[in-house]
Symmetry: C2
Subunit: 406 residues, 2 copies
């Protein structure tokens, strides 16, 4: 977990608020859920490997004493930190759906926690930034999520990305079509999901290692790597899915207006077990790969209230885009900073004058020391664009630091 210095955090603020602004303009509503969830809910979610990474919170008071008295080390905890925003959203929607619009378009931005080994660009506390549409099974939702997320990325200055789309059933049908039993489809998908890391040679090796036949594996990978058309795949037995993908590509590309491409990728898996239909990802080579991902999860809300609520979501990889934009030196604010120097005893006068400048500037009061030159150098190093001295109001000194703003 990490601290953020002012310039870092202000850039994070700016990025997040730009994204949220685009989402709100598109009719999405910003909600918030606690970072702490019941451990039972967390552990009963289809969170895959994330379940191993949950931070668990110890019981308190009498409950803890009782658990200790029973010598039961396995039940000392009753709460946990959320590992994503989708599980809390499903609980939230089940609890509040009568108070919400149908369909419900929602924005979530918040911290999530995973007890992973720290590595470059991966933190144990990090921000997710999701949009979801609950309560509609229309394919328009997928098209809308793709278009709105892409618009948010364009808004923060990200270009040259591609949206890849697949349907979960399509890959599964293809696997069965190639002679592999349906009950083995999950494990095959897990291996195919690694293709961007281990390549298709690696996938082949792993599938053979898992005991699948040379013929079936060869047929499957032959089709997948052969850039198959949707029509070819329709012949593998899932015409409904290829038709919906085809319709989605049509809509999404019409909205893209050549600013980005939306294309079919039969090898796209997405790891989470809870996806039930369409899945999609946004890739941007200059940002090191995948920067957003999502899909349809029609069964997750039902875990809480037994109802059947169609749902689809899209998550921007906030930490990745923040990391790249910060490295590129994107500035946090469009407002310039001014340091206003005053002498001992002039605080009230300086404050009043500073107030008169604040419509367009962030103004910091600085009490003059003997070595003003050193203070000016510090202000410059901290990104101040201007300095002014109370005794010479209006005489603005430009500091060497570049003007703020992109």
């Amino acid at each position: 977990m990490r601290d953020y210095l002012p310039a870092e955090n202000e850039l994070r603020d700016r990025l997040l608020s730009e994204i949220v602004r685009v989402y709100k303009a598109n009719g999405f509503r910003h909600i918030d859920t606690p970072a702490v969830e019941s451990l039972e809910n967390l552990e009963n979610s289809d969170g895959g490997d994330n379940l191993k990474l949950i931070y668990k919170i110890q019981k308190r008071g009498q409950k803890l004493e009782n658990a200790v008295a029973e010598g039961d080390y396995d039940h000392l905890c009753d709460l946990g930190l959320r590992y994503d925003l989708t599980l809390p959203l499903s609980r939230y929607y089940a609890a509040h759906k009568n108070e919400l619009e149908t369909p419900f378009r929602c924005i979530q931005t918040g911290r999530v926690y995973r007890a992973e080994r720290p590595q470059k660009g991966r933190f144990r506390e990090f921000v997710q930034c999701d949009i979801d549409i609950l309560g509609s099974d229309s394919l328009d939702c997928e098209a809308e999520l793709i278009s709105v997320a892409a618009e948010a990325l364009l808004q923060v200055g990200i270009r040259d990305f591609t949206v890849r789309v697949n349907h979960r059933n399509l890959l599964r049908s293809l696997i069965v079509f190639c002679g592999i039993p349906a009950e083995e489809a999950d494990t095959v998908c897990v291996t195919i999901d690694k293709a961007d890391k281990i390549g298709f040679d690696g996938v082949k090796e792993e599938l053979l290692g898992k005991g699948f036949g040379e013929a079936e594996t060869g047929k499957l990978l032959g089709i997948l790597t052969g850039d198959p058309t949707l029509e070819q795949l329709a012949e593998a037995g899932c015409r409904a899915e290829t038709e919906s993908i085809s319709a989605l590509l049509g809509c999404a590309n019409a909205l893209a207006e050549d600013r980005y491409a939306v294309r079919f990728d039969p090898t796209l898996v997405r790891g989470q077990g809870y996806y039930t239909g369409t899945v999609f990802e946004i890739d941007c080579p200059s940002f090191g790969g995948t920067i957003a991902g999502g899909g349809r999860y029609d069964n997750l809300v039902g875990k809480f209230d037994g109802s059947s609520v169609p749902a689809v979501g899209f998550s921007i990889g906030f930490e990745r885009i923040y990391g790249v934009l910060a490295e590129r030196g994107m500035k946090a604010s469009e407002r310039d900073k001014l340091a206003l120097f005053y002498d001992e005893g002039q605080f009230v006068e300086a404050s009043k004058y500073a107030s008169s400048l604040r419509e367009n500037l962030d103004v910091t009061l600085v009490k003059k020391k003997k070595k003003v030159g050193k203070q000016l150098a510090q202000a410059e190093a901290q990104g101040y664009a201007f300095a002014e001295f109370l005794e010479n109001p209006g005489e603005r000194k430009r500091l060497g630091g570049e003007k703020q703003g992109e």
Copy 2:
């Protein structure tokens, strides 16, 4: 801990961003620290009763196995959720001070956690909103914090508040002056702190119950409730403190310009053990009492790096002001919402038309159902100001819901 519905959360967003906007314009920098801290740091802070309310996070992996193998129930946890923002700030400043301005004006907004019994207006997860100035012992800092926090409150529409100021040494000197031993001053302060709940009769009863003499108790309460002047208290032996309070009142009232009053209150205590000098609170009767509080804490950073760093902070009671403003029906957004109705198959056309309207409106796409009347009623109930139908672009129907904005 609680969920926030869209209108609630959007109002929280708005309040927080207005407050942060005022703080940034005044040269404060927005930083961020993890919600999770080392349990050792949390438990070694002068957090008073808050230390009993820490949510503790269990160790993971081998560390947990080792602790269990040793049968050591008391050391199964190594992390905890922060109970305030001041302790993390002190750790942060000690770690990063070479990269920060001197003095360092900072803003923190974030969730904190206390395992309290839930009650009206109190939550186990809640937002704090702090400003602090580190690295300066100038009294200008106190005046600036009071002025800037008051400006933020005025900005979100809060009026009729009063700032009360005291100095910790002043009350302690007075206690000793009345014949109570210096080492008993803390417990006397704890009792005086309850005056707004139990009244001064209650304070007297509790002090006598604690074994203090009738004469000493009577003298102390006689002075405290007699609306003493600073000059009278100076005679009790702390002229330096009364002079600094007097200077602070002068500055702070000059900046208040009659929009609020800043006055001396010899009975003001503030609970936290870490305060070392000036303490202050903002009261607003129409908001049910105290809505902000703070003070000087010159020894907290030193706990982390042994250095001596003067520091002073002010915290707005965000949950309280949010609660009152929400009850009063303050609206979350100045932008109106429009529902754009379209027919099946018109999604792309509707999306493009909606985009053209979004500069000044939040536009939601709504696929028409057979019962459009019911859909319109729902939109109205959800706060939409307008509806429009794609087949009649520009023909805007005003919904009964009042116009958004304050």
